[in-house]
Amino acid sequence: MATVKFEQAMARLEAIVGELEKGDLPLDESLKIFEEGIRLSKSCLRVLEDAEKKVEVLVQDKNGKKRIHAFSPNDEADESSS
């Protein structure tokens, strides 16, 4: 899910909570947005769980080609030596 979608999902979820807490919707409408809310909160959490947790480094090799490789504290040594 793109960040925009995540943001929209959060905003929609917030709106749903407010709407439900106002309590003036008809029951079937409430149920509909309740289900939507549950779905959104689950999918938001899943997005957070599924997010890529990694740190990478963008490097340029001797031919001027750019590569991305995983970052490790050793890179600091490389950098200071270069």
Binding site: E52, V55, V57, I68
Partner: protein
Amino acid sequence: MLFRSNGLRLRFALQEGLHVIVRGRLTVYEPRGEYQIVLEHVEPKGIGALQLAFEQLKERLAAEGLFDQKRKKSLPAFPCAVGLVTSIAGAAIHDILTVLQKRWPLLHIIIAPVQVQGEGAAKQIADAVASLNSIRKIDVIIIGRGGGSWEDLWSFNEEAVVRAIVASRIPVVSAVGHEIDVTLADLAADVRAPTPSAAAEMVVPVLSRLVEQLEDYSVRIQRVMTRRCVFERHRLEAYLSEISHMRFYVQDKSQLVDELTSRLCQAVAELRSTMKQRVDGRHQDLLACNPLLFVKQGLTLIPQLVTRLQRQMKSVILHRRQRIQHAVAELNNLSPLAILGRGYSILQNVGTGRIIRHAKDVRVGDELAARLARGQLACIVKDVIPDTSA
């Protein structure tokens, strides 16, 4: 005299009327016999060379509108991937990574390592910003370095860096040095953070708080919904009990209706049979009263009566006739004429007309009429002889 090779090193533009302090070699230009100074170092008088260069570049770029507030982009609320343009050896990257990973451990971080000071640093920074822009998923870039002298921070005042930041399609957060150090990169960036740690804080929300918020939302809507469902169930139950009451009521009423209907039917049937009886009775009466009947009866009775009458009449007449005959015979027996027939006569005083029964009723000389069976005699009394036997 300023040779191009030396001039390239100047960080500020020479302007007419500018007071400068110079260092160089004094030489003579022989063909014209002129003295000249070959400059090795030029520094503006009064303020430092760097400061002047900064002011001049700032003015020029500002005139181009590169620092305008209106072309600044806003940061994404929930970034997927962050590009970092900084030295991989400095304290800044450590601070940034620490904050990012603490707040938002899920973040994809792509580091573009650069020199942040010295020759070539500006170009590296500018190139790094451009390179990160070619990576699609990055949605925010942090460029920065830790604190240092004004000269250490100089690369972030270079035009190439400013232009790279302006050209970036991805929002850029700058964090150069300490809060008091404002570089041109800071002015060009979409958001300026006072320190690298602050930049990291601006870029990502706190994951744990977001998760808490999501859970809070989830709990709240479930609580609201549960309450709502309980409420609706109660309402439904109330309706149901109302309906069952209604059902009993309807049953009662329909029973009553049934009963009334059957009673009504019965009453109607009774009434009908009574009426039928009465009508039948009248009908019979009416039939009995049929004049034709009487006429019929009359037709047979009358001849009978006539016959009877005639017979009766005959007998009566016969009887009467016999009685008359008998009476006539009787009468004949009693008739004075018959008596006279047997030799008796009737004396009648002619004068008085009285029938004479006693001798003493007559006197001598009276004229008497004697009636005989046939004819009369006119008589005169000669003597009267009274009756001595009595």
